[in-house]
Amino acid sequence: MQARASNRLLSYALAALLLWVGIGLPTAQASEPVVVYSARNEQLIKPLFDRFTAETGIPVRFTTADAAVLIERLAAEGKNSPADMLMTVDAGELWNAANRGLLRPTRSKTLDANIPATLRDPGNRWVGLSQRARTIVYHPDRVDPRKLGTYEDLADPAWRGRLCLRSSKKVYNQSLVAMMIKTRGEAATEATIRGWVANLAAPPFANDNQVMEAIAAGQCDVGIVNTYYLGRLLQKQPNFPVKVFWANQRGDGTHVNVSGAGITRHARNPAGAQKLLEWLSAGDAQRLFAGSNMEYPVNPTVEIDPLVRSWGSFTPSRINVVEAGRRQAAAVRLMDRAGWR
């Protein structure tokens, strides 16, 4: 008898759930919404979208996934795609989407004024919204920062058994190598990468945090990471024994990538999407966009997070980030040849 009662209870619960899943689908909105496909994760974008809606009355609907997947989705949906905007955490994916004809050019004086030309598409199909600097980090007790200089220097045998790197599977390393190919050519870059691989203290790590933890634990002395990962570690442990060194300051500048966005070719609400893009490129939105993840704003007039500022100012690479996308496949091949796993 009891089993039967629990069965009935279960079927009621299931029916209620089904109903609720159905109701959970988005309901009609007053103003036409902007629909965003985002590879930047929910907790970094939702607060901004909520604020945009509060200020402008334009609702924002979004879904998140890996950029490569979202790009295939856009391509498959074609004209029927609900998406107005594609947002990624890497210039390579934006280049790829633009290259496949999935993004449309946008002419905007506001965007041109707010975002440096090296951080947006020469064809105006996407813009960077925050900068992610990838540079050298070291243990202050075991490394004299005066001995550090460029990424390329880390290939020197002096660093044998002292270098830690993240896996070459991560796009951040692929972009770095792509930009090195652009400035120095394939042969010189390959020699550098082979030097790095020979200097590794441990097999490549799955993420930047592990690289820095290995430096702190004494497994190695130097590494290459995105600075915001260090920012997060420092928030938790202010005395975390890893310091930032700005690479290539005398030459071509420190490598930066962007988290950015572009308006889709078949956008139904391109005006709303442009408004969102412009809103994100200025003022408080820009400060929040970068600051919530301890990245650098693209808009030079916007204030930098105090912890991030404490690492000092640096000269970023002067080459347009679009090159990271153009040469990404070549970079992957090069890393395969050089044995960077």
């Binding site: 994760n41 295939e72 029927n80 955490v89």
Partner: protein, 517 residues
């Protein structure tokens, strides 16, 4: 004759979602060879294939042995804690593989507090967990419950009288179990080990977290790194071929060892005493400790600093949506698997023989490739499907049919056709036969199929991520959102919620299962 035709149709329908994806993969092979693939042949694929083969074989064997031993212990012996272990041994399934890998990397690698302390105090050194061996270890720990559950059902439905007969022939209970029950359980053990092998073939999360190069990492390198989805699909084609070979091997092995035996009276469990009871309890605790308690404790320590900031009312929604999707998905998977298993039983034509493995081959395709491979044709052929949950459930079926089919087909294989024939002679109709003969004997296997697909679906990420409606978040998606930028400590909160949310259904179902068998 008409019945056969109907069976073929059922098999075709059940296989349809997977076939859509497989046709896409074949299409990729028809496309002109990409030079990304040539490059990979030269630099990546030889090592990646070798690693994949070693990984698949080692995990299938290790999980097979571990799962079978635990199943035999729990099914045939009574020892302190048996009732608890009988369901608790399923718990490791509730932790997504990539979370488990991150926990082990975080707690056993060079920079971990434990290793640092042992190294400084005693000069201890051990091989890195971030290696092929480490990946094999982690995958075994997360996958052995498949074998454990399916084999346990097989042991429990074996007839006590075989053991008695063996005892009369002078065998000890252990010998009897080895010589009589083990052969009876072989189809179940093989089927579940094949399942483990397929899941290992498709795994990306664990090998990526430990930076081991396999065919799946080569696949994502081609797609994400070199922007070549075609190359990725070609590599996915290899994975499917390997899976089909595995299934063929499993099928051969099963038919060589074919034993159809009737289930019967419930099993009498031998009570262990003294040191043997202690050993049984200790070993089982150790396995559960390493595969579940330790990772959960580690997640708790990560979550301890973040739960207050992250845990809020939204979590009720995540939990309910996770359970709803997994529950509905599991009902679909089990129903279609049952239909498929019966149809295959009636249809031994070449169509039935060749389509059944294809229907379940989706389990060996990495989830993201499968999701895109199904979403792209469906969304362009029927745009109205976009943003509905229909594509999501179709994709669940394409990917998880194997999980439902393996236990049910193994259960069905234990039912002698003579039973049906006798019932037909006595004039019973198909429905009556199902209700009075098959259901009582098969419900244990069906419950196992439900538990396994439910827990697998709770963890499912790539399909849900791609095909969900706007703003639709589940616990697994929450874990992904937080880990995608390396925020592991915050991700521990939804990961623990995932474990907790899976706990109650697991315990409840395990209770029902022990009534069933």
């Amino acid at each position: 004759m008409r019945a056969r035709w109907r069976s073929t149709l059922v098999i075709l329908l059940a296989a349809a979602p997977a076939l859509v994806v497989l046709v896409g993969l074949v299409g990729a092979w028809v496309a002109p060879a990409s030079d990304a693939l040539q490059h990979q042949w030269r630099y990546l694929l030889p090592d990646a294939s070798r690693n994949t083969i070693i990984l698949v074989l080692s995990v299938a064997v290790a999980a097979g042995v571990l799962g079978t031993a635990l199943a035999a212990l729990v099914a045939l012996c009574d020892f302190p804690g048996r009732a608890f272990f009988s369901w608790a041994l399923l718990l490791p399934l509730s932790i997504p593989g990539y979370v488990l890998a991150a926990v082990f990397a975080g707690s056993l690698d060079y920079s971990s507090p434990l290793y640092s302390w042992l190294r400084e105090q005693w000069g201890w050194q051990w091989p890195s967990i971030r290696s092929l061996g480490g990946a094999s270890f982690v995958l075994t720990l997360t996958l052995f419950p498949y074998v454990y559950l399916i084999a346990r059902v097989a042991f429990e439905s074996a007839a006590e009288r075989y053991l008695e007969a063996a005892a009369l022939l002078g065998r000890t209970r252990l010998q009897a179990a080895r010589e009589v029950l083990l052969p009876l359980a072989i189809p179940a053990i093989l089927a579940s080990s094949a399942l483990v092998a397929m899941e290992t073939l498709a795994d990306f999360g664990v090998v990526a977290a430990l930076n081991v190069d396999t065919l799946t990492t080569a696949l994502y390198r081609a797609w994400y790194g070199m922007f070549s989805l075609v190359t990725a699909q070609q590599i996915a084609g290899f994975l499917v071929l390997m899976a089909l070979l595995l299934l063929l091997f499993e099928h051969r092995a099963r038919s060589v060892l074919r034993m159809r035996e009737s289930a019967g009276v419930s099993l009498f469990r031998e009570r262990l005493h003294g040191w043997r009871a202690l050993l049984a309890t200790l070993l089982t605790s150790l396995i559960l400790g390493v595969s579940f308690a330790w990772p959960v404790a580690h997640l708790l320590s990560w979550a301890s600093t973040h739960w207050a900031a992250d845990l809020d009312a939204r979590y009720w929604g995540y939990v309910l949506r996770s359970i709803a999707l997994a529950g509905i998905g599991a009902v679909l998977v089990v129903s279609i698997s049952t239909l498929l298993a019966y149809a295959r039983r009636d249809d031994s034509s070449w169509v039935g023989r060749s389509l059944t493995p294809l229907a379940t081959a989706g389990y060996a395709i990495p989830g993201t490739v499968l999701a895109v491979g199904l979403y792209a044709p469906l969304a362009s052929a029927a745009p109205w499907l976009q943003g509905t949950l229909i594509i999501l459930f179709v994709a669940y079926i394409a990917r998880f049919l194997a999980v439902g089919h393996a236990p049910i087909a193994a259960g069905l294989a234990r039912l002698p056709t003579a039973l049906d024939e006798a019932a037909v002679l006595l004039g019973s109709g198909p429905l009556q036969r199902w209700r009075q003969i098959h259901w009582p004997l098969l419900k244990g296997s069906m419950a196992a199929a439900f538990v396994l697909s439910f827990v697998d679906l709770m963890k499912e990420l790539p399909i849900t991520l791609l095909t969900r409606p706007f703003g639709f978040e589940t616990l697994a998606i929450r874990v992904f959102e937080l880990t995608s930028e390396g925020e592991w400590e915050r991700a521990a909160v939804p990961a623990l919620a995932l474990v907790l949310a899976g706990l109650w259904p697991l315990k409840w179902l395990a209770g029902r299962m022990s009534h069933a068998t």
